[in-house]
Symmetry: C3
Subunit: 139 residues, 3 copies
């Protein structure tokens, strides 16, 4: 059994945001899947997806702060600068964190660990509304 | 054909550890799959999974040393500090390396390259026993 | 429906290279898939795969420059040095960017965003010809 849908998120400010509930709301039919996988793909090169702790919001702030330290704006070696100082760092961050996630579906539910949430990682100052492709397969 | 099982690893010390043989031991039925994928998911936010060289153990030591350099403990910008100085770096490392792997199954075996092994990346000093979800699908 | 094939790329110099057209040429049968996923796996530990901007070539140059800054050669803490100064950095880069990609297939085509291309990331000075396993499943 396959299902696929494309969704458009609300616009998020630069930073790390939990979208677990939004994703689950979009895939009510996983109730019928005993064993499978959910694949989430972001159709952009300056935002990304990851899984991390969803309890303490300071974790998301520390992600933003530390990635900005590792991948700062205005590095003298950047040549791709025409789209703004936040653009090339956004490309680098998006590849380091990744553009897709695969999560097991077990007994009709996402089989995430207790503290795991799905993060939308917005690396641009004004990234706009991001599009995701959700693909479910299983039996 | 789908199969899925949840396993609990032994406790590993902080660092990078090869678990290829343990994974293969847990999925004897891939012998029956001519074409498919194995998905491995870690249900934690302070440990991760990656694929890298499994021959020379100094590679794993260099992973630990270099990731500690890029993502040190006790950074002044960390606000998520209550769970210990190794906690926030563990969250960052786990997202940078990733929480899941997908590996091709070909003719009843994992189709890894000659030097590729599956690493359990333990980022906490005392991470405990980690849970993985193994999902196999194929034909 | 499953398909799988192993391909060998041409030899690329160290750096980041777009292989989207080469991948698409290798999988003509995705035309018949209305919903599915393409999985691409690289069978090496010193080269990797990622998705990023395919329009402006300076993006790829900036990837090479910035990853060399984060993960330099000849770090005093590296112990895995016998295979050359580019070897241990290549292992680190390959795990940070990742060894596989999963891309949605929708209506017979890869469902990539407008600016997304598939990058072969060659981290060695003389990496040779790299092998990929392409797995397609869908309906």
């Amino acid at each position: 059994m396959w299902q696929q849908k494309e969704i458009t998120l609300i616009q998020f400010p630069r930073g790390f945001h939990i979208i677990t509930d939004e994703i689950i709301k979009q895939i009510p039919n996983i109730n019928n899947i005993s064993t499978g996988l959910l694949h989430i793909f972001i159709k952009h090169t300056s935002a990304s997806l990851t899984i991390n702790e969803d309890a303490d919001p300071t974790v998301r702030g520390d992600f933003e702060a530390h990635l900005n330290k590792i991948i700062p704006e205005n590095e003298p070696h950047y040549k791709h600068t025409i789209e703004g100082s936040d653009d090339m760092p956004a490309h680098l961050k998006s590849s380091i964190l990744g553009s897709s996630l695969s999560i097991p579906i077990s007994n009709g539910k996402l089989n995430l660990g207790t503290w795991q949430g799905i993060y939308l990682c917005e690396h641009r100052n004004h990234g706009g509304r991001r599009k995701l492709v959700l693909s479910i397969h299983g039996e």
